[in-house]
């Protein structure tokens, strides 16, 4: 706009060859940089899309990448991907910020004394080879990688007879091990969440972590939505704390931490009757009953018995064992117990499949423990770290840092500085996955290709680790068959390829085009429970005694295990549960806090036998009174400008211990004492009312029983009258259903006249599907150039996100089993037909377009903020400073969407229904002989990324459009409309609950 980096600065760097060509300011004449040789598939001004695989986490979702003039500007879920099936999580979107992360290394770094100097790749590779040759004893510590890379690493390591250790902060090792023990299967089970009628989660946060959060999120939405027969699946969460996943449950049984096995077996015993069904585990079951379960879990026996009976009857059902957040000392046993439960309930082969062999990282903390001791003992010459950051993600107690220091030569492949790289002697910055080749096998028979979508960001002289290994091998005289990783990978795939799969080239090109190829694998033998080959204890595990509160350490929905922490988008993304940004917080039940005289915002010292941290308290009714919770991902010391000094590292409180037999890191291991420091701080939250909606018609729900005869809903209010024209009251129906005609009488002039048959854009959001995962928030931020403002501004109440996921508690009780009712509501600009914000603007900066969109003309805005004051939904956000200028370092501004104006300070902004996407489609349609716009052709960023498919956008004038269909539901309502008659274009569908809804004044 008036200053700062301009939207079209990107057109100046048309060719990515224009290294560092982004100009700022307007002093010197603007330069236009054409390509030297134009890639034929790129047209300036027209987006080019590539398919690839999201390498953010082990889920490996399919990804579409939108590039403009050779720059990746947006990532989206790939609906053709057989596992993730469209949708993408916030982390996936944020991988873009890691691509353009200004803290990436500008080239290979070589240690000289206590400082790192930038070197050339030849130099670095020679040094690597030389050191390996000279010292030997190579240990390769690697994180999760695709099959080809894994293959290459193995060959590399064997060639120099080194050792390889695999480690990820967050892993499913206990589940993997349990599957091996119970069924002898090498992979993770795959869950068919969507078809379960009763879903039990024993502390499994399946929409946040695990084999495929996005797919499971989709499944959860599908399961819980009301089918034609008027019934819907029920979701019960058993665990001490409600995670994002848990908040979506219909019932909560707050069992004692670690008692999952007892409860699962207790239930199994009921279902199995004389326990005959449980095969080799029959005698185990005999010693369990609802009584023992209730006693172990600290909940009523009836609750468990009743649940067990339902689990047996409402088949198909599905139960999931504890995930990363609940890895206690008997986690494997707990998962086995849950498998037994599924087995006796007859779910195997129906909702849970053990033969799918979903690939998982064979990550074992136990191996790391031995690696650490080996290094400590000086048995390691060259230590190479790739794709993992143990110096941060292992508990301090593990002594990794000290041991690592003992290795005589330390190599890191980190592309940006992290805690481990900081200790290395040689850093060989790896490519970001959007710049590199790779592959993934999310499950047997599915092969997805990861292709570079743009040339490497010119600011950073990076090189793909695979190529480096090959080069190093060459220097060492070992020929691994290929010169580049690409060739290596392609060769590998050719080997695996057999005639049954058809022509290789065809399959290869299809994989590149569609992102993945799928071919059926020979089904393995029917899965039967096997007798355990290792000792399993199903008892509630012992905890280290550090105090009277159990400490729950769980992966953060935003940062995972901490590898995502250096993204301002994720830092500023309100946590789906707490709605807190940036810093860490300790979750504590209100009663517990009250007993100790702790108020929200008090900074407390949390002390375990293994360490202590100072962290502010956040009061959460969704956690047991005898537990406190802390998320991973905070407290980085050496990661980057956004991650450092933000929050605390929960791992500091944990022992360095691995669960047996899986060897996973124990996350639920200790109790802690909590003592106030006497200091306070303002929590950087976006939540105003502590989850209370004050009986206002904002996020109402309807009981399943009431569906089909919900008229009494409308009784509350008749027709609302509104003054229209000069004098004379024109009635405007203010209740649910589609918004009334627009424009109203008296406003039909010029483009608003009846004669123009133009679409009228509207949106429908199904709150019964929305899981509050917040993917839409980040997607919107990425699409619309929404800046981040930083912790201090959030504390002042100046968050800028266009989408605000409101979370209201209606019914939530941590002291006993019962109904759970938490409402998630994505609040965006409602594009009201009678928008209160419009008439008060003195300069027409906001007004209603003939298509019924509430437009905000940034360059006309003077900044009186009257519109924001008058917006009952509070969806208008203001640029208080030059955020887009001051907060966004080069090259992060390369991510900016060239189709959206970058706003400067003093300007109001808000959701535009992705106007740029509407225009793009209109332009395309116009070029194609002015054909009409097809329904579903315009997909706003939020709708595209929603894994739950809760959002539908379209033309509501066309009664056949999807949005019109959805809106015709009896559950449709419009927020506050019945009391304000704002006539929003955004329609919500009420959440459907099993219990009677306590109706407030407006319900």
């Amino acid at each position: 706009m008036t200053d700062g980096i301009k939207r079209r600065d990107f057109l100046k760097v048309l060719g990515v060859t224009g290294a560092g060509a982004t100009l700022t300011g307007c002093s010197e004449p603007e330069r236009l940089l054409p390509y030297v040789v134009a890639p034929e598939e790129i047209t300036p001004g027209v987006a080019t899309w590539y398919t690839t695989v999201c390498d953010g986490c082990s889920a490996q979702c399919g990804m579409w990448v939108r590039t403009r003039e050779g720059r990746a500007v947006k990532v989206e879920g790939n609906p053709n991907h057989p596992v993730s099936r469209g949708g993408l999580c916030s982390k996936g979107h944020a991988t873009l910020q890691h691509l353009y992360n200004p803290d990436r290394f500008h080239g290979p770094m070589i240690r000289e004394g206590d400082r790192l100097r930038q070197g050339t790749w030849d130099e670095a590779e020679q040094q690597l080879a030389a050191q390996i040759g000279a010292i030997g004893n190579v240990m390769f510590i690697g994180g999760r990688v695709g099959p080809s890379m894994s293959n290459l690493i193995d060959q590399f390591v064997t060639a120099i007879d080194g050792t390889r250790v695999q480690y990820d902060a967050v892993s499913d090792a206990p589940l993997l091990e349990a599957a091996r023990i119970a069924y002898g299967e090498p992979g993770l089970p795959s869950y068919d969440v969507g078809n379960a009628r009763l879903l039990l989660s024993f502390g499994n946060d399946f929409i946040e972590t695990g084999s495929s959060p996005v797919a499971h999120n989709k499944g959860l939405a599908q399961m819980s939505s009301v089918d034609a027969a008027g019934s819907k699946g029920r979701f019960v969460y058993l665990g001490p704390r409600l995670s994002t996943t848990g908040l979506n449950a219909d019932e909560w049984i707050p069992i004692r931490p670690g008692s999952e096995a007892a409860v699962a077996l207790g239930m199994a015993s009921v279902i199995a009757g004389d326990a005959g069904a449980a095969g080799p585990y029959a005698d185990v079951l005999r010693s369990y009953s609802p009584a023992t379960a209730a006693q172990a879990a600290g909940v009523s026996e009836d609750a468990i018995r009743e649940l067990a009976e339902r689990f047996g009857s409402d088949s198909p059902t599905l139960a999931m064992g504890p995930s990363a957040g609940g890895h206690h000392r008997n986690a494997t046993a707990a998962n086995v117990a849950v498998m037994i439960l599924n087995d006796v309930a007859g779910n195997v082969g129906r909702t849970v499949h053990y033969d799918a062999n979903v690939t998982a990282a064979a990550s074992a903390y136990a191996d790391m423990e031995s690696a650490v001791s080996a290094m400590a003992a000086g048995q390691v010459g060259v230590a190479m770290v790739h794709g993992t950051n143990p110096a941060y993600s292992m508990p301090a107690a593990s002594g990794f840092a000290e041991a690592f220091a003992q290795a005589s030569f330390k190599v890191s492949f980190a592309s940006a500085m992290d805690e481990t790289a900081a200790l290395a002697d040689l850093i060989l910055p790896d490519r970001h996955f959007l710049e590199a080749w790779g592959d993934s096998m999310p499950r047997q028979g599915v092969m997805a290709l990861q292709q570079p979508v743009m040339q490497a960001v010119p600011h950073f002289d990076s090189k793909q680790a695979g190529d480096v290994l090959l080069a190093a091998s060459a220097h060492l005289g070992n020929d691994l068959g290929s010169a580049t990783f690409y060739e290596f990978m392609r060769a590998g795939h050719m080997e695996m390829h057999d005639a049954s799969m058809g022509d290789f080239e065809v399959g290869w090109r299809q994989a590149l085009r569609e992102g993945a190829v799928e071919h059926e694998v020979a089904a393995t033998a029917t899965t039967q429970l096997q007798a355990p080959d290792v000792a399993l204890s199903f008892d509630t595990p012992a905890l280290d005694q550090g105090g009277d509160l159990t400490l729950l350490v769980h992966p953060s929905p935003r940062f995972g295990g901490g590898e995502f922490s250096n993204s301002p988008w994720l830092q500023e993304l309100p946590d789906p549960v707490s709605k807190i940004t940036w810093h860490s917080w300790l979750e504590m039940n209100g009663n517990t806090a009250e007993q100790r005289g702790i108020r929200e915002g008090d900074i407390v010292t949390v002390t375990s036998p293994h360490g202590s941290v100072d962290v502010p308290v956040w009061i959460y009714p969704g956690i047991r009174e005898d537990a406190v919770a802390l998320a991973m991902g905070g407290g980085h010391t050496d990661m980057g400008r956004w991650a450092n000094e933000s929050g605390v590292n929960a791992l500091g409180l944990l022992p360095s211990e691995s669960e047996q037999p899986s060897g996973a890191m124990v996350t639920l291991a200790t109790t802690v004492s909590v003592t106030p420091t006497g200091e306070r701080r303002r929590i950087a939250t976006i939540e105003g009312s502590k989850g209370d909606q004050h009986d206002r018609p904002i996020a109402p729900a309807v009981a399943l029983a009431d569906l089909g005869h919900a008229e009494e809903d409308e009784e509350g209010h008749g027709e609302l009258q509104e003054l229209q024209g000069v004098g004379g009251f024109v009635p405007v129906p203010g209740d649910g259903g589609a918004a009334t005609a627009f424009p109203l009488e008296g406003a039909q002039h010029g483009p608003y006249a009846e004669s123009h048959e133009i679409p009228r854009w509207a949106m429908a959001i199904d709150l019964d599907k929305c899981t509050g995962c917040s993917a839409c928030v980040t997607a919107c931020q990425a699409e619309n150039n929404v800046p981040w403002v930083g912790e201090d501004q959030i504390v002042m109440g100046r968050d800028m996100n266009w989408v605000r996921i409101e979370r209201y508690y209606e019914q939530i009780d941590a002291t006993q089993a019962g109904d759970l009712d938490v409402r998630m509501l994505p609040m965006i600009c409602q594009h009201c037909g009678n928008a209160p914000c419009e008439p008060v603007c003195p300069v027409f900066a906001t007004y209603h377009t003939p298509e019924g969109v509430n437009a905000q003309i940034y360059n006309r805005c003077v900044g009186t903020r009257y519109c924001a004051n008058n917006c009952p939904y509070k969806v208008r956000v203001f640029n208080w400073y030059r955020y887009t200028d001051e907060n966004v370092p080069d090259p992060m501004n390369w991510q900016w969407n060239p189709d959206v104006t970058v706003r400067t300070n003093g300007i109001m902004e808000k959701c535009s229904f992705c106007m740029q996407r509407i225009r793009e489609v209109e332009n395309r349609a116009a070029l194609e002989d002015g054909r009409g716009i097809r329904d579903g052709e315009i997909v706003p960023a939020c709708e595209q990324s929603c894994p739950a498919e809760a959002i539908v956008f379209g033309n509501i004038r066309d009664e056949n459009s999807r949005v019109s269909q959805v809106v015709s539901s009896e559950r449709t309502y419009r927020v506050l409309d019945e009391i304000l008659n704002t006539q929003p274009a955004v329609h919500y569908l009420k959440k459907v609950t099993f219990h009677e809804v306590a109706t407030g004044g407006h319900e």
Partner: protein, 174 residues
Amino acid sequence: MSTTGGLLASYEYLDSTVDAIEQLKKAGFKGMKAYSPYPDHHIEHALGYDQSPVRVWTLVGGLTGTATGFAFTTWTSMDWPLVVGGKPIVSIPAYIIIAFELTVLFGALATLIGLFILSRLPDLKPAVVYDPEFTAGRYGVYVEAEGGRLDEARKILNGQEPIELREGEGGADV
């Protein structure tokens, strides 16, 4: 001496001033001027003023304002129609306020202009005969006459015991 001359008498008392004026009128003198430190209706009465035409200026100005207010707002709305808040393009109720403000504004300015024109302000020429005490505490009567009438006027003026009596060229614009 038969040239035209002007006589300016300064008085200390109101009644003597009024008497002087009335006697001059009785004697048939025309074009008298009176000075006073404040607006005094006795003097105005003596000189026999009727309604001031300033009122017309105010009225016309005000009406112009009203018309402008409605015309301008309506025209601008139609010039580029934009719907805000589902309201009619031309929302007369809202425009009443603009019309009202312009009524007052134009009315006030017209009044001021009218006043200046009618009372010959601004008038920065130094007065021919003038007594600075008029703005303090004195009253004054100025009359123009010629020849013998001049003496008659002088006699009448002196009859009221002026503090001082000045003579000046005739035709002095005051």
